[in-house]
């Protein structure tokens, strides 16, 4: 009797328990905090924002190498070529590519050509930074959820991929009449342009990135200056075309660095190299952009910090007796765009590419580059004219040299990541450019060590470490 009762109860219990319970649990299968079907616009805003922010993050890593900035601390790892762990930057680049990759998938499924173009350009830009900084990186095997240990592609393969992605973007942006034009509110780069011109702006931007990619191999046998010039010609025609991202939660990230510095979280100190480049010490001409780059110190002078040496003694490091990145600069004010690539930079690319074959064109581009950049810095017409007519600058077409072009481009790419590519292509041969004090390497830095995050998470695929003085393939 008791046994029967037990069995009956047990079965009842189980039946009660299991009845309809499948739905009870299935109801919670979907994550209410996520969606599985993103829209084109929702990924466009993310991707374009990340492009702007990554341009800043990537530049932050290398601005001490090109000696735009210098650390307030002596022997700082950033200034003295010590190994640094750039996992955060690497991850930001790959997460941006992952979102762009998703955008590309959605866009391809509905044949939204402009969105495919943007996605390709995002992939090319972020991948280009991986290539420029580290050499190898995963791409052909990346973004595959069935493989959490993607293999690395060679630097040459990454470069070829980046060029190919830009070419594909050019094809997509060249298609007019797309039924799905880029959503203005979600396009944080050219969203303010009229709907009619937005596509052509992006097309010019694609050509601008192509020009950058092609000039990068200037030391390599594959270098084709005519292709560079062709890209430039299809690219920006004025400062109005500049690609920048100016949508911030609070303020421009460089302005944020300046603000933090004032609030005693030190950073954004300008290097003596940059200050002397501009103040006449190095070239004998005072560059009117200097007051537009930074502010006078409390002592009423312009003075930079020596890389690797740290804060100038005897003042405390919180005494404002050095020059810093400034929120008063049109380049780094609260609302200034994070400039990704500019018309001025393209003019210097043109000057460099044309120099050997067409010095007149090169010289005109050189002057136009300076002029356009000065306009960006809101230099007065008088000051600009004076500078442009100064014999140190106005050397004439026949006397234009690569050094001069690089000298001026150095200012135009202030706080832009491309500056390190140029410095390496130019073998750091800027006038009076010297090794930092307390350097950890015997010569200039040429690449970054792979980030520790990759070593721990994908270690078997990370290429063997080589010295940071080893040049990448295009730098040899």
């Amino acid at each position: 009797m008791r046994k029967i009762l037990i069995n009956t109860l047990f079965i009842t219990l189980l039946a009660f328990g299991l009845q309809g319970c499948s739905k009870y649990f299935d109801d919670l299968a979907a994550n209410p905090n996520q969606v599985t079907e993103p829209t084109l616009a929702s990924l466009l805003s993310t991707s374009t924002y990340k492009m702007g922010i990554n341009s800043y993050s990537a530049a932050s890593a290398i601005v001490p190498y090109v000696q735009y900035t210098a650390s307030p601390s002596a022997s700082a790892a950033s200034d003295t070529y010590q190994t640094q762990n750039f996992t955060g930057l690497w991850d930001a680049l790959y997460f941006a590519m992952a979102d762009a990759n998703e955008l590309k998938k959605v866009a391809s499924s509905v044949e939204a050509s402009e969105y495919i173009g943007v996605a390709n350009l995002m992939l090319a830009y972020n991948l280009g930074i991986v290539h420029d900084y580290w050499g190898s990186g995963p791409f052909s095997m990346a973004f595959d959820v069935s493989n959490i240990y993607p293999e690395y592609d060679s630097p040459e393969a990454l470069y070829a991929t980046a060029v190919q992605l830009v070419d594909e973007a050019i094809v997509e942006f060249s298609k007019s009449g797309s039924s799905m034009a880029l959503a203005a509110n979600s396009d944080l780069i050219y969203g303010t342009a009229s709907a009619a011109t937005r596509r052509t702006q992006w097309l010019k931007f694609a050509h601008a990135l192509k020009a950058r990619l092609l000039i990068k191999v200037s030391k390599h046998s594959s270098y084709n200056p005519n292709a560079v010039l062709a890209a430039v010609e299809n690219s920006f025609t004025s400062n109005a075309d500049d690609a920048g991202m100016a949508t911030f939660t609070v303020r421009n990230n460089w302005a944020g660095v300046a603000n933090s510095n004032l609030l005693q979280s030190l950073g954004g100190w300008l290097s003596e190299q940059l200050i002397e480049h501009l103040d006449g010490t190095t070239y004998g001409v005072f560059d009117p952009r200097l007051p537009k780059v930074t502010d006078l110190t409390v002592d009423g002078i312009y003075i930079g910090t020596v890389n690797g040496a740290g804060n100038r003694l005897p003042g405390a490091n919180t005494r404002h007796d050095e020059c810093y990145i400034s929120r008063n600069s049109p380049w780094t004010s609260d609302n200034a765009p994070l400039l990704i690539v500019t018309y001025a930079e393209l003019k210097f690319i043109e000057a460099e590419a044309a120099l050997s074959t067409n010095p007149d064109r090169a010289y005109a581009a050189y002057l136009e580059g300076i002029s356009a950049n000065m306009d960006r810095f809101q230099v007065s017409a008088e000051d600009k004219a004076a500078y442009l007519s100064n014999p140190v600058v106005a050397v004439g077409a026949s006397n234009l040299t690569k050094d001069l072009i690089f000298k001026e481009k150095y200012v135009a790419t202030y706080l832009n990541y491309e500056a390190w590519n140029d410095a390496r292509r130019h073998d750091y041969q800027y006038k009076d450019f010297t090794m930092p004090e307390n350097a950890a390497l015997s010569t200039y830095i040429r690449r970054l060590d792979y980030p520790q995050g990759e070593v721990t998470k994908n270690g078997n695929n990370v290429p063997a470490e080589v010295p940071r003085t080893t040049r990448l393939w295009w730098d040899q």
């Binding site: 219990l13 994550n31 010590q82 959820v145 405390a316 919180t318 721990t456």
Partner: protein, 1036 residues
């Protein structure tokens, strides 16, 4: 007052007039048959039910029983007595001493009361008096030092600041998964999470609390800690980290009694950093006044400064002393207990207020409880328990405060923080006190926990129990900071352009439990009890927050006044259902075998994997009742158990998708790939645990011990493995990682002195846990700390190593030119010294510098009774673990620690040159030019010492006098008759004495919040308090 309460209670009873049934109260006195002395702590249980009580110190008891009931009297060391309740309401019993008995009843899974002797696993309980003597308001703090195998950390002395508890070490490899045990109060599973919503993350969190603090410890009758797998098996996957079973006080039939208690206490900082008192404000030896930047103590001596600045004070301010004030706390409570055969009530109201030692921090708590028990008929009983708490207060980030204090020069008094116009008085750096005054976070929680239980005994051998429970709270946090007033030159610290933030958390859990019990004699000697049960648990959490910044009117804290709004919004829900069975076989009252099995179904795993089963078996063998043992052995018992525990995944670990991209500015929305790659193939993880124990007591229980060894092996742990960003994700959920824990627990108890006027009880507990990560696919890095240069450490979990390793940079060593492959830093090797006399830093290279898990945990409790006086003294210790201290790192960077007073001297560092010969080069420790004419720049402490982890990862072992309490029970003859029945006065001190080698702060305190598993580093903590409290208790 008493009349009022009586009326209230009578009113409650009147709602159930027709429930008057036959249950009645039996009372009596239990004495020792040998000498007639009263016997306290005798368990009196109504046979066949969980209805039980205990005798008081006078041997008296009172219990409500059903007609025809039989009472079972049990006491350790005495023969069990069974007596049928006759017609009389008085039942006196005398008990005879026996060679062996271990008869205490403990509350196990689902409120099932079981004799301790039948349990095949370790279960340690703490009763009301032991719990409450040190007047801790957070239940976890109240348990500190009292239970073996349990690590409880009080995170600091902040008002309402949280605490953490880990049972038998860390069980989850994934540091993002809470290692918190399951808390069950009167059978209802309750939440003890720590929310940081709106309060900052990690070490910046503002003194947030663990939600167990909503319980009023004074309401608690007993706490039973279920440690091993066999103990928690019936609770299912939620009990995998151990279970804390809390039983609250119940009303007893008889005259209503009222207890009133009032406590007032003061808190002072327990431990302060030792600071140098010679050198003042300045940088590189140069005095700067007014200060133009941060330079608290690298200036000249006071005398030198006074030459330059006659206004310089004669002595430096000790701003740690100046910043932290004396805290105050008050706690008033009243409880009422009583009832009749039909209904019994326990009700309490408690108010607690604490003003923190850090300026502008406080905590308030108001709680009420109503526990009712109804005997509807002899076979039908019901109980309803409920509690409501309103708690909250102002909190501030201890890390930010301590950091500000480190920058603040001892040249200036930190208490002078404001200009007359209300702006901050700024001396080259921000004033941290002004920070606490303007940058605020106020939290408020309303919480309700309630449960209803029905018991029906269909026959003498068949019973049913059903319980429904609810635990729900809403917490609001309001963050405010004014923007600038527009006064020229004003400084705003962290307030930027002003903030107003509203954050709301809502949680609700529902639980339903059904248990059917059968019992009977299978043969003459073999008895069996069988239980079958069903459980449902459903938890939902929702977090919504909006932060407004850039205020238009600088001090109008309204979201509509904020130019920029950013929001956060998420919710999670999980459901769980379990079906379980338990069979207990009792052979001749000395051999007990318990078998359990449970099948869980969880919503967090896919349909294919969400149902899983796991069993347990435990054996208890009361040797002393089976075999004849030497007379000195009072009792002896062996325990053996095996259990398998299953565990599910976190919510939504199986799915991936796109989440909102929170970095986008207001007005723009976007999506980004979720950070975790979901894994639909996740399986439940299982842990196998083995446990063996031996209990023995001697000399009529004057001395005894309880020894336990345990071994647990977790396989296929579900963790979020960090994967390369080239996949597009940060982590993926995987079944990977095996971890082993093994350890011992030893409890020694005794009564060294026991006579009519004086007794001394001792309880000593010691435990040790050893952990090893047997397999892990990729390293897990967690717990980033703060520090200059490469000083900040990380905790990294690596296959083959122990949980809790601390990795950091170090001074290079000379090892005779041998390759240096060790993961561990060998501090015994000589330092490598450069020709200029300085050491060499490892840069970003890291080695294992220590481990955060203690080797040993000890507790040593004493209680002395002499006439009306009772003295409790509780020591506890945590030994053999390391911690990185970023307070010391910051202090050394600014020339603050006492040892930096040696700066104006030469030193030859102990070490060798690269060729192995001893270093003989002297260095000047101060900044700039030494007497030797060499420019030392920023000096040894700033160039070397502060930039490396090694000096700051130190032994954090501690020993302390956790609590001492002296109580005087006023003789009844002194009290006004009728008005006051009992009265006692007590003085209690917590954290009265601390020994540690750790620099500056109590190593138990931490900058991380109670929801964090980061324990290998700490910096600017909310200092631990040394509390002195006075209590008056009256029984009316």
């Amino acid at each position: 007052m008493r009349k009022l309460l009586l009326l209230l209670c009578v009113g409650i009873l009147c709602f159930s007039p027709d429930l008057m049934a036959q249950q009645r109260t039996v009372a009596g006195k239990v004495t020792d048959a040998s000498d007639g002395a009263p016997l306290g702590n005798v368990t009196v249980q109504e046979k066949g039910t969980a209805n039980a009580t205990q005798t008081n110190n006078e041997g008296q008891y009172s219990i409500n029983v059903n007609p025809g009931a039989t009472l079972v009297f049990r006491s350790v060391g005495f023969n069990t007595v069974e007596r049928a309740v006759g017609t009389s309401n008085v039942l006196d019993v005398s008990m005879t001493f026996t060679a062996s008995d271990i008869g205490e009843v403990v509350v196990t899974a689902f409120g099932i009361g079981r004799e301790q002797r039948a349990l095949g696993y370790a279960a340690q309980s703490v009763n009301s008096e032991d719990l409450s003597f040190n007047k801790q308001m957070n239940l976890l703090d109240a348990l500190q030092g009292k239970v073996a195998g349990v690590t409880i950390s009080s995170l600091g002395g902040g008002p309402g600041q949280g605490s953490t508890m880990r049972i038998r070490g860390v069980n989850s490899i994934d540091p993002n998964i809470s290692g918190d045990p399951l808390y069950v109060i009167d059978g209802i599973q309750i939440d003890n999470s720590t929310s940081t919503l709106g309060a900052g993350a990690d070490h910046s969190a503002r003194g947030v609390t663990n939600r167990l603090s909503d319980l009023n410890p004074a309401d608690i009758e007993s706490v039973n800690i279920l440690k091993g797998g066999a103990a928690t098996a019936l609770y299912g996957l939620r009990g995998a980290n151990g279970v804390v079973v809390i039983t609250t006080k119940k009303g007893k039939a008889g005259e209503f009694s009222v207890n009133v208690s009032s406590t007032y206490g003061i808190d002072n900082v327990l431990r302060k950093p030792a600071v140098q008192t010679m050198y003042t404000q300045g940088v590189l030896g140069v005095y700067t006044h007014p200060a133009t930047g941060i330079g608290p103590a690298w200036g000249p001596t006071i005398e030198e400064a006074k030459q330059i600045d006659p206004t310089h004070p004669d002595k430096l301010f000790n701003n740690f002393d100046r910043a932290f004030l004396t805290g105050h706390q008050t706690n008033n409570s009243i409880s009422v207990s009583g009832g009749n055969d039909v209904a019994r009530v326990f009700s309490s109201v408690s108010q607690f207020y604490q003003k923190g030692m850090m300026p502008n921090t406080d905590y308030n708590s108001l709680s009420g409880r109503l526990n009712t028990d109804f005997t509807i008929s002899p076979s039908f009983r019901a109980a309803v328990n409920m509690t409501f708490t309103n708690s909250g207060g102002y909190s501030y980030s201890s890390d930010r405060f301590g950091e500000g204090l480190a920058y603040w020069s001892p040249r200036y008094d930190v208490r002078e923080h404001s200009n007359p116009d209300g702006t901050m008085l700024w001396y080259g750096t921000n004033n941290p006190v002004w920070g606490t005054m303007t940058n605020k976070l106020k939290s408020m929680t309303n919480r309700y926990i309630g449960g209803a239980t029905l018991n029906y005994d269909a026959t003498s051998w068949l019973g049913f129990m059903y319980r429904f429970g609810v635990d729900t709270y809403s917490e609001n946090r309001l963050r405010t900071a004014p923007g600038p007033m527009g006064i020229a030159g004003e400084r705003v610290y962290d307030n930027a352009q002003g903030y107003v933030g509203e954050y709301n958390t809502g949680l609700r859990t529902l639980s339903s439990t059904f248990v059917m019990s059968l019992n009977g004699n299978l043969t003459e000697k073999l008895k069996g009890t069988f239980r079958l049960g069903h459980e449902i648990y459903d938890r939902k959490i929702k977090n919504v927050g909006v932060l407004g910044s850039e205020l238009t009117i600088y001090n109008f804290f309204n979201l509509g006044n904020a130019a920029v709004l950013s929001s956060s919004h998420n919710s999670r829900e999980r459901r769980l259902m379990g079906v379980f069975g338990e069979a207990t076989l009792d052979y001749d009252n000395y051999l007990y075998l318990t078998l359990t099995g449970r099948n869980d179904i969880t919503s967090t795993l896919s349909a294919e994997n969400r149902s899983f089963f796991y069993p347990s078996a435990s054996l208890s063998y009361v040797v002393s009742d089976h075999l004849s043992l030497p007379q000195v052995i009072t009792n002896s018992r062996l325990r053996l158990s095996y259990a398998r525990l299953g565990k599910d995944a976190s919510e939504y670990a199986t799915s991936s998708g796109f989440g909102t991209y929170g970095s986008l500015p207001p007005g723009i929305t976007g999506l980004t790939l979720s950070s975790n790659l979901g894994n639909p193939n996740l399986r439940p993880e299982f842990t196998d645990t083995y446990e063996a124990g031996l209990e023995m007591s001697f000399f009529r229980n004057r001395l005894g011990f309880d020894f336990t060894y345990y071994y647990s092996l977790s396989k296929d742990q579900i963790l979020q493995a960090q994967i390369t960003s080239a996949t597009g994700y940060v982590t993926t959920s995987v079944n990977a990682g095996n971890m082993r824990n093994r350890g011992v627990e030893f409890v020694l108890f005794g009564k060294p002195v026991a006579n009519d006027v004086f007794t001394w009880d001792v309880n000593f507990n010691l435990s040790a846990n050893r952990n090893k990560i047997l397999s892990l696919p990729t390293d897990i890095t967690y717990g980033t700390a703060r520090g200059y240069g490469n000083a900040a450490v990380a905790q990294i979990l690596v296959e083959g190593e122990s949980f809790g390793n601390i990795y950091g940079s170090y001074f290079l060593r000379y090892n005779g030119g041998n390759p240096d492959n060790s993961q561990y830093l060998d501090r015994s090797q000589p330092l490598l010294i450069t020709p200029d006399g300085f050491p060499v830093l490892s840069g970003s290279n890291r080695k294992i510098l220590g481990n955060s898990q203690p080797d040993w945990i000890l507790g040593f409790g004493n209680s002395f009774n002499y006439k009306g006086w009772t003295l409790h003294a509780l020591f506890d210790a945590r030994l053999g673990f390391e911690k990185y201290n970023w307070l010391e790192n910051f202090y050394s960077a600014f020339g603050i620690p006492d040892y930096t007073a040696d700066r104006r001297s030469f030193k030859v560092l102990d070490g060798v040159y690269a060729d192995g010969t001893p270093n003989t080069t002297q260095i000047w420790l101060d900044q700039r030019f030494g007497p030797d004419g060499i420019d030392y720049g920023e000096g040894y402490y700033r160039r070397f010492y502060r930039n490396v982890s090694e000096p700051f990862v130190t032994d954090a072992s501690w020993v302390r006098l956790r609590s001492a309490s002296l109580t005087y029970n006023v003789p009844q003859t002194w009290l006004p008759k009728k008005a006051i029945k009992t009265a006692s006065l007590s003085a209690t001190g917590n954290n009265l004495w601390l020994w540690t080698k750790y620099y500056g702060v109590d190593p138990e305190s931490t900058s991380y919040h109670s929801g964090s598993n980061v324990d290998g580093s700490a910096g600017f903590t909310y200092p631990s308090a040394r509390s002195i409290m006075f209590t008056l208790s009256l029984g009316l």
